[in-house]
Symmetry: C2
Subunit: 195 residues, 2 copies
DNA sequence: TTGTTTTCTTAACCTAGTTCAAGGTTTTAG
DNA sequence: CTAAAACCTTGAACTAGGTTAAGAAAACAA
């Protein structure tokens, strides 16, 4: 189990002593996910918060017309999960799939609650993680409401360039809220008369 | 200061003893906001989390073309604030304005941190509040990506009917991500051939 | 009470983005 | 190495929703 990265991630917001660190690590479960493998399937109850050690995943829903909508990406050093299902313990609507072979560390809901009991600092840690997710989610909403598709694509490349290595065009189009054909057209336009 | 509602709100997630309750209440500041009055202006640093005792507020941004985008509403028993500015202490992009005469209770960032020190349970309380906001924000993203304007309007009426009493049509249109003219058209259509 | 502002509607025309279809290229699995 | 699958591009026809404009109705301030 490769724990260096997650310990560094935690230490960004809280400080652990040796015993706490050991206890935290004992709560984690390592897993390797192959490219295209589903880590979480809609309809299931989400039982873990997942930290990405290497690789990349996408979270997505499928609407009534069978169209896939990418809700978020997660790469090295990020957390992912179906927050709705995780807190309500109801069947979720999120699918989580690997974009590349990935190593993740999983913290089960029960262990997370144990952690809150034994090391209350983790309440703070996850509060901050969730706060940051909320800011990102709201910023994306604002972008979707106020920018054109082309502007959103430029923003995306600026902010998440590392994801371009993992996600094919139609997945990025889905994240941006447009069709793959239209993203292709935008690219063509940009290549012809660049910024 | 009308504290009954906020104490009930807090008690949904954590239990306070008398001293803790008194301490919490001593951290709050009451404010009355007139309809159309700005509670927070973009460019300012957001210094408070705000709990609504009565009335209704909207949070919105204004894009380069001067168009207003409603990010969220807040009514009785909800919290509102510019999370980005609140945690980064950078100038924010959110405006918060009263839709009706409102009474709010404000918890300053400093007091919130004091509260975290003195009564660590509040880390949990605000973690849960933020988790719920994140779920709502993601659900809205999913709706924006996968539903038509008419479907979003129907969803909105089902879920937030109480806001219809406070917000004029053009404000709801902005929240839905469409123009007031188009929402008016949808209404006309729905009136002619109802569900 | 009356002028002013805000709100809502309707209609004609316009456009960003979609749909459908087809062909070409790259990646992958066996 | 090769067939199949996944991926990307382009173009023509289409549509959900936007823009502009103008008028009616309601709410509000003086």
């Amino acid at each position: 189990m490769n724990t260096e990265l997650i310990l560094k991630n935690v230490s960004k917001h809280i400080t652990l002593n040796d015993a706490e660190r050991q206890f935290f690590l004992s709560m984690l479960e390592s897993r390797f996910i192959k490219r295209k493998e589903l880590h979480l399937k809609e309809g299931e109850v989400c039982k873990h918060s997942t930290f990405i050690v290497s690789g990349a995943l996408k979270g997505f829903t499928i609407d009534k017309q069978g169209i896939e909508h990418v809700i978020n990406f997660a790469i090295k050093d990020w957390w992912i999960g179906d927050m709705y299902s995780l807190i309500s313990q109801q069947p979720g609507i999120l699918n989580i799939e690997a974009l590349a072979d990935s190593e993740v560390l999983m913290l089960s809901r029960e262990n997370q609650h144990l952690l809150y009991e034994k090391v209350p600092k983790f309440e703070r840690f996850f509060r901050i993680i969730v706060e940051n997710s909320l800011v990102a989610s709201q910023q994306r909403l604002i972008n979707n409401l106020s920018l054109t598709a082309e502007e959103r694509y430029l923003e995306f490349m600026k902010k998440y360039s590392s994801i371009l290595e993992y996600a094919p065009l139609h997945t990025i189009a889905s994240y941006l809220g447009i069709t793959p054909e239209f993203l292709s057209k935008i690219r063509g336009r940009m290549a012809r008369k660049p910024a």
